[in-house]
């Protein structure tokens, strides 16, 4: 089309008819989706309005006064969640990668570590997160080895221990998914086994499992709220305190809203990256 010749604008009647039909079809689907949205919203509104308890529920959960009153405190608490999240993210990445590398290693020296790593990922994925938090949060101080520890630090450790088991398994699957010919090719260039893992296997695996990892990260974002069970004053705990004072549940809605807002950028990022990956996969692969 870049040869400069004027395009033949004459379109056959068959194509014209096809175009008209397609336009008609797409118009129809727009109208249908609009109607169904309106119907859904109206149904929800009607159900709420006929529910005898709705005014009370609205007052208990969606009260503007309590919302405004608790917002600053809950936001303060969220700042602690964010800091915990950053440390937990780094810690999980390091520990998870170590576990995964040990799991895929073949060196006989690492045999005991391999057994340990396997046992660790199996057990940790089976224990409810809350129990891990209690074990670490009340167990470690109970040992009396390290003196008094901040409950936020203990909570962070628990999140790291729990999540690194999941991350390790995702990473391991990714490592094993890289085609063996890539390893062969790297080794034949003279790279050592460690260099091969670091320079060839890990970068390729990360690309493939990035959506799964980001999903785990988003899930971790809300689970850092569980450190409140150890007494750390995070967003959830701040909300709890506000609720206890007023007997109104609106602060919980405030906390939820803030957690949702925190996760939205990463959810968008994840969707964008996944779409890009799919597009890339569809366009490549030509020989």
């Amino acid at each position: 089309m870049s040869d400069g010749k004027p395009l033949d604008t004459e379109v056959s009647s068959i194509e014209q008819e096809r175009e008209a039909f397609r336009r008609h079809q797409s118009m129809r689907s727009v109208v249908v989706s609009l109607l169904s949205t309106v119907a859904f919203v109206m149904a929800v509104g009607v159900i709420l309005n006929v529910s005898p308890g709705w005014p009370r529920v609205r007052e208990m959960f969606f009260s503007p006064e309590y919302f405004a009153e608790s917002f600053p405190k809950v936001l303060d608490g969220l700042w602690l969640n964010m800091r915990v999240l950053v440390y937990a993210l780094v810690g999980t990445a390091v520990l998870g990668t170590l576990l995964a590398v040990v799991r895929i290693s073949k060196s006989p020296v690492l045999f005991p570590l391999r057994v340990l790593a396997r046992a660790y990922t199996t057990i940790m994925r089976g224990i409810p997160m809350l129990v891990v938090l209690y074990l670490i949060g009340f167990g470690i101080p109970g040992l009396g080895l390290f003196g008094r520890m901040d409950s936020a630090v203990l909570g962070t450790i628990a999140v790291i221990l729990s999540y690194s088991a999941y991350i390790a398994e995702v990473l391991r699957a990714g490592f094993e998914d890289v085609h063996p010919s890539q390893r062969a090719s790297a080794r034949s260039l003279g790279l050592t086994s460690g260099q091969t893992v670091r320079l060839v296997i890990i970068p390729q695996a990360l690309r493939k499992i990035a959506p799964a990892l980001m999903n785990d990260f988003i899930s971790m974002q809300k689970d850092v709220g569980l450190i409140s069970t150890l007494g750390a004053v995070d967003a959830v705990r701040a909300a709890q305190i506000a609720v206890a004072r007023s007997f109104n549940y609106t602060p919980y809605v405030v906390a939820s809203l803030l957690f949702i807002l925190m996760s939205i950028p990463f959810i968008i990022l994840n969707d964008w990256y996944t779409a890009r990956l799919r597009k890339r996969e569809q366009t490549s692969g030509m020989v």
Binding site: S181, A184, S185, R187, G190, Q195, L199, V287
Partner: protein
């Protein structure tokens, strides 16, 4: 095309002189369970010589290539690269692998690295060259194969033939003593086979020592100095293309080449 083998500058006369054995395969046995894939294979590849390993599928060509490249362990026999017994477990296998340039059927370029990084990886990580030096040499190689304009592309933006040429440049980067080509055109569109084979002939003419497994009979006949025909894990023939392919005395050999009608 200028010299692809750096620092070589082999004269026309030198090329005709076939030198010392670079690779000596001596009584190599390879078994997978009860299946004997290589049954006492022995032959040499001498300096500046191009040896084509032919044979039907399952005759052990690929396994032999993997043994030479230490991707598989032999079950008996020895393989010598120069003065090194590379089947000796005491040697540094990584260093030995770096002395052999390998090109695979499926190119196996690293998809997450640009062309230039693919080509320079071994120089930087195995030989510790700094990036500038490695890239200078790599760009020289890429220029000679007409791929310098693509040095910043990722492999999936290249055609199969281009990818395979980059893979050859990557194998040549460290001036290997031996070039191992494992069915390097088998995964290519027939239209792209020519450009890759042309490059191999160029290398041969510049004095490279090449051991290649191939199904391209016409190419083997034209480019190889010697043909090694494998059959059921044994060396069935070992001689010049003329002796082995044109008028073989063995009826089974004749039947094999007869099934490839296109080679002349």
């Amino acid at each position: 095309m200028a010299d692809l083998i750096a620092g070589a500058g082999y004269s026309e006369r030198e090329q005709r002189v076939v030198g010392e054995p670079v690779l000596r395969i001596d009584g190599v046995v390879k078994r997978f369970g009860d299946n004997v894939v290589l049954n006492h294979i022995s032959f040499d590849v001498r300096k500046h010589e191009t040896v084509a390993v032919l044979g039907p599928s399952g005759s052990g060509k690929s396994t032999l290539m993997k043994c030479v490249n230490l991707l598989e362990q032999v079950n008996d026999g020895q393989i010598w690269l120069g003065d090194t017994d590379i089947t000796d477990p005491h040697i540094d296998q990584d260093k030995t692998r770096a002395r052999i340039g390998v090109v695979f059927q499926q190119f196996n370029l690293f998809p997450h690295m640009r062309v230039i990084d693919n080509v320079t990886l071994a120089a930087r990580k195995v030989f510790g060259w700094d990036r500038a030096r490695a890239e200078e040499r790599a760009m020289e190689l890429l220029k000679r194969i007409g791929m310098d304009a693509k040095s910043r592309e990722f492999p999936d933006r290249l055609s199969g033939g281009q990818q395979q040429r980059v893979a050859i440049a990557r194998a040549l980067m460290m001036e290997p003593e031996l070039l191992l080509l494992d069915e390097i055109t088998s995964a290519l569109d027939p239209l792209l086979v020519g450009e890759v084979l042309e490059m191999v002939e160029e290398l041969k003419n510049q004095g490279a020592t090449i051991l290649m497994a191939t199904h391209e009979m016409g190419f083997a006949h034209r480019a190889a100095d010697r043909i090694v025909l494998l059959r059921r894990g044994k060396v069935a023939e070992n001689g010049t293309p003329h002796d082995v392919m044109d008028n073989p005395s063995d009826p089974e050999t004749r039947a094999f080449f007869h099934s490839y009608r296109d080679w002349n």
